[in-house]
Amino acid sequence: MIIKNMKYALRTIKVFGLYCILLSWAFVVVAPLFWLVTTSFKEKLDVYLGPKFIPWVDFKPTTRWWIRIFTVEKETLLRPYANSLIVGSISAICSTLLGLMAAYALTRFRFKFGFMKNDDILFWIVSQRIMPPIIIVFAVFSMYRALGLLDNHLGLILVYTAFNLPLSVWVIANFLNQIPPSVEEAALVDGAGPLTVLFRIVVPMLLPSLTATFLLCFVFAWNEFLFALILTYSRCQTMPILIAAQHFQRGPQWWDISALSVLAVLPPVGITIALQKYFIKGILLVGK
């Protein structure tokens, strides 16, 4: 009886401890976000004479910055938002698609280009992500200038697709390694063409991991700063540039930055929530 109670007590302590840790980290995550959101509702003096914590208790919240964003600054906001959405989603789709094709090829067939075998090719692809962007930026700038790809969507889409490809190839290849080729082989024996096999059989099995890859590529493209800065001027500016531009001759405009950052995080969060079940099931197969 005593032992049973002790076991029960131990378990309760364990559960308590578990939630302590979970909630602590949840607090760590939420607290800065709370600060970010409340700042977007603060008057300038509330920020400079801060810190002011709780709305309605420490300071009177105002919606003027939000209103200004949606009325006066609507034009300035709409364009980067749309640009980010367009460039982000298209480049993510391309990265995922091309990554799928390349990963499939590298895991199902044997290649040999000179001395490079499958593993080497894979490493070369991944190494493209190792290149620090500052090396590439000026070179790409001059290439784009010559090709007329500056300040337009296509230019950014190409760059982001290329820079997220290593990620998508690496992740998808890992997934593919978990799936035994037997199912595909069976289908081929049954007379299905190879492309049909790819799209009708492999893709459905991979769908979760494909959505995971899409999300990661989208987020990296959505939040990218350096290339967007150098390769665009006005037509094709993206959200990160808009946020950075809020640092004026008066110092950072904390309230505007906060409001814009909240707006900027909505699409990635939305996509994450929507794709949640796929996402978790998706990276499911990475480990092994």
Binding site: Y19, W25, L106, Q128, A139, E184, T272, V286
Partner: protein, 294 residues
């Protein structure tokens, strides 16, 4: 499995390879030219003159360079380790499927979704020694404020803190998936054998987590080496040189003085360091794979 003709096989791989070549060949050549050259601008045209190993000699003697290397290594070493440990802890806990785990899963991912610039500004506000909330709380408790971003001894750790806050989700996700992938039978077999709790963890879970761990560590290390946004927004590399990472150093040299040649040299050094790290992890992965096959 070779029912696809050679060309169809190649076709699958080609777009990827072409796209990557497009963005890597010219930049690589350009960078090599810059590294061994000297840049000047006259009348609208940029000319690169050959300068041999000048840039390299200058780099190796440059105390600022070695400082940046040290700063970067410190940040990467501490941050990635911390992110791994915290991510692992969180993943293990949520793996128990406690009530509300779905909510926690989404919540924990959010920091990674914010633009790094936004994260930088947010933490700059929070760690502000004059008007930030942490200072406010410390004062309320009667303690003196700490210059998180203004004291040389603390600034670097503040950067680590911010990086950990933002990127632990990345580790968490990959490790959680790794845990979910462990076949139930392995765990059940271990339990039948009498192992439980810690034993199960060390002898079954951890080894099975090795591959996703290495994958996550590789990806995160590669990214962390390039850290710049957070530092640029919060401390600008300061106080003094306390938080100037390699990328920021290269950025300051290249963008503020337009000394492209020297900037390219710095960037290449970074590239080389990250390459070494990546190769290290890849080697580990391959060794692990061969061990496990036994």
């Amino acid at each position: 499995m070779n029912t696809l003709g050679r060309w169809e096989k190649r076709l699958l791989l080609t777009p990827t390879v072409l796209l990557l070549l497009f963005f890597s060949i010219f930049p690589l050549v350009f960078t090599l030219a810059l590294m061994f050259g000297r840049v000047s601008f006259t009348g609208g045209a940029m000319t690169i003159n050959f300068a041999g190993l000048d840039n390299w000699r200058r780099l190796l003697r440059d105390q600022r360079f070695w400082n940046a290397v040290l700063v970067t290594l410190k940040i990467v070493g501490i941050a990635v380790l911390a992110e791994y440990c915290i991510g692992l802890l969180l993943a293990l806990l949520l793996w128990q499927r406690p009530w509300g785990c779905g909510f926690f899963r989404v919540l924990y991912v959010i920091p990674m979704l914010l633009t790094p610039i936004a994260v930088g500004y947010t933490w700059r506000m929070i760690l502000d020694v004059g008007r930030g909330p942490i200072t406010g709380l410390l004062k309320q408790l009667g303690l003196s404020p700490i210059g998180w971003l203004t004291e040389s001894s603390v600034a670097l750790y503040s950067i680590v803190l911010i990086d950990v806050w933002q990127w632990t989700p990345f580790m968490f996700l990959l490790l959680y998936a790794g845990l979910e992938a462990i076949p139930k039978d392995y765990l059940e077999a271990a339990e039948v054998d009498g192992a439980s709790g810690w034993k199960k963890f060390f002898y079954v879970v951890l080894p099975l987590l090795a591959p996703p761990s290495l994958a996550a560590l590789l990806l995160r290390t590669v990214e962390c080496f390039k850290i710049v946004d957070i530092i640029y927004i919060t401390t600008g590399g300061g106080p003094g040189q306390a938080t100037e990472s390699l990328t920021l150093f290269g950025y300051n040299v290249g963008f503020r003085t337009f000394d492209l040649a020297y900037g390219a040299t710095i960037a290449f050094t970074l590239f080389f360091m990250v390459l070494m790290a990546a190769m290290f992890f890849t080697m580990l992965t391959r060794n692990l794979r061969s061990i496990r096959l036994e």
